[in-house]
């Protein structure tokens, strides 16, 4: 079972990967966006880490809710409300349980992802973070590692797509041939989850 500490470590791991790859994310965003995705998420996850350190929440749901609120309050842009909603809704779906299973998490994350789709109006194939998140949710039913692989594959599969949502959609055909920054960061978020699970010792 995954307790609050696990979710806490997940967020810290996500902050680490985002920090490591921030330049790369910004580079991707400069090709089809406005060159701020890396610094946006770095700022947001740094705030998440700080908030969690200050007063560590006691349940998985509370960890994700706090993280989501922090992202909404510090990121801005499209990714702030979307990632914030993802984590808040996932946290809400986890309820007050002190520990949850991988299957619980996959289900809750599914609700979170649905909320992102509803908020932003994007569907699979629109070349957004959803293209990494949707396959990840499915694969998490199998294993954390499968979730990571599916998310990365989903992110890479955005390259040939033409963007239909967000800033990249302004480019029309010129958005083709570039990997979506949000899908790439979403894959990092899922990779951080799998890393955390592996460090915790095998499949939880």
């Amino acid at each position: 079972m995954l307790d609050a500490d696990f979710f806490h470590r997940w967020m810290i791991a996500a902050a680490g990967l985002v920090d490591r790859d921030a330049e790369h994310l910004t580079e991707l965003d400069s090709a089809i966006g406005d060159a701020d995705h890396g610094s946006n998420l770095r700022r947001g996850f740094a705030a998440v880490s700080a908030a969690l350190a200050k007063e560590p929440p006691q349940t998985p749901g509370a960890v994700l809710s706090l993280a989501g609120r922090q992202l909404i309050s510090t990121v801005g842009g499209a990714s702030g409300p979307l990632y914030g909603t993802l984590l808040r809704r996932t946290g809400k779906a986890l309820g007050g349980a002190p520990a949850v299973s991988r299957a619980d998490l996959a289900r809750a994350l599914g609700e979170g992802v649905a909320a992102v789709s509803q908020l932003g109006g994007a569907q699979a194939g629109d070349k957004t973070m959803l293209d990494a998140l949707l396959p990840a949710v499915d694969a998490l039913g199998t294993s954390f590692a499968a979730g990571r692989d599916a998310a990365r594959a989903g992110a890479e599969a955005t390259v040939p797509l033409r963007a239909r949502k967000g800033r990249a959609s302004y480019l029309g055909e010129r958005s083709v041939g570039h990997q979506d920054p949000g899908a790439t960061s979403a894959a990092l978020l899922i990779a951080a989850l799998a890393d955390t699970a592996e460090t915790a010792g095998g499949e939880a």
Partner: protein, 328 residues
């Protein structure tokens, strides 16, 4: 770049505004710029905001006759809901608050969340979405037209209506009418360098230009060999007119993207007037300058607004902000 570190550019600029504009209250920590005499009793308040890097938009438009408050986000990143809620609370006189939102996914989502939160706090909020950029097809396959130069028209004219004492629904209706009556088209002659990235967002060799750009350093719809001022005016004004089809006089904004010298911008303004004359369009008022910018980007945009008598009267009404001042 003339900066300390990328992380503090917005806070540094707000400290600078605080030091040089005693007529504004600048909350550097919470990133809210408010006219000092707010809330103004009996008047609807206007709050806008968006990513930084477009100065003087928005904070430079705070003052009597225009915005009550502005919320600057990080460079090219929409502000967060907390800022907007704080701004709304600071300026609301009880008559309600109009949020002026440029149509970008980030701005729309953050203002939407702010509106919900403000609503929970008992504030009356209306929103107007600005989407004037004809370079973007407004279809299911895009995030819709971007908000660019028309923002200035909306903020000025709706601000004048609020100043006259119009109620919230009427101020919002005028703001929407201005937006629906406005179209823009922009051209980049250079890329843009954000403090965070430190190098140009896209490569644009000298001798080429990007047609149909926005104000965030996104590449445009099309790259071409360099055109003359005359040719660019033909292209941009025709793109706007073909979409706008004005039947009467227009307001014209000949806007610099930041890196184009005013000398060149005025020359471009002459060409804009020439095209309009050729197409039989009468220009009621023209504004030339760097108002809705994209950091150091060289280039320009043209915004036209179909102007009836009421809009011209509200445009001419007194305004007293750091970047726009006239009337008495």
């Amino acid at each position: 770049m003339l900066i300390n570190v990328p992380e503090t550019v917005v806070a540094d600029a707000l400290r600078g505004m605080a030091a040089s504009h005693p007529e504004l209250t600048v909350d550097v920590e919470n990133r809210v710029v408010v006219r000092r005499d707010a809330p103004v009793a009996g008047k609807v308040a206007l709050v806008s905001g968006g990513g930084s890097g477009h100065e003087p938009l928005h904070a430079g438009f705070v003052g009597p006759g225009m915005l009550s408050a502005a919320c600057p986000g990080e460079v090219f990143t929409s502000p967060v809901p907390d800022q907007m809620v704080r701004a709304a609370a600071a300026v609301d006189s009880g008559e309600g608050v109009l949020f002026v939102v440029k149509n970008y996914t980030g701005d729309v989502l953050n203002f939407e969340m702010a509106a919900e939160l403000a609503d929970e706090e008992g504030l009356r909020i209306e929103q107007v979405l600005v989407d004037d950029d004809v370079a973007v097809t407004d279809s299911l396959y895009t995030a819709g037209r971007r908000g660019t130069g028309a923002t200035l028209f909306v903020e000025k004219i709706a601000g004048a209506a609020a100043d006259e004492g119009a109620p919230l629904d009427r101020v919002a209706a005028i703001a929407r009418r201005v937006n629906e009556s406005s179209r823009s088209f922009g051209v980049a002659l250079s890329s843009v360098t954000t403090p965070a990235k430190g190098s140009p967002t896209f490569d644009l060799p000298a001798g080429e230009l990007e047609l149909g750009i926005g104000i965030h350093g996104e590449p445009g719809r099309e790259r071409r060999a360099m055109m003359t001022s005359r040719e660019i005016a033909d292209f941009a004004v025709n793109a706007v007119l073909d979409d706008l089809r004005p039947g009467g006089p227009v307001l014209a904004l000949v806007n610099g993207m930041g890196g184009t010298p005013l000398l060149e911008l005025y020359g471009f303004g002459a060409e804009v007037h020439r095209v309009l004359r050729e197409r039989g369009v009468v220009v009621a008022r023209t504004l030339v300058g760097n108002y809705v910018t994209s950091l150091d980007m060289a280039g320009c945009s043209v915004t036209l607004c179909r102007a009836d008598e009421e809009l011209v009267r509200l445009w001419d009404a007194p305004v007293e902000t750091p970047a726009l001042r006239w009337g008495r």
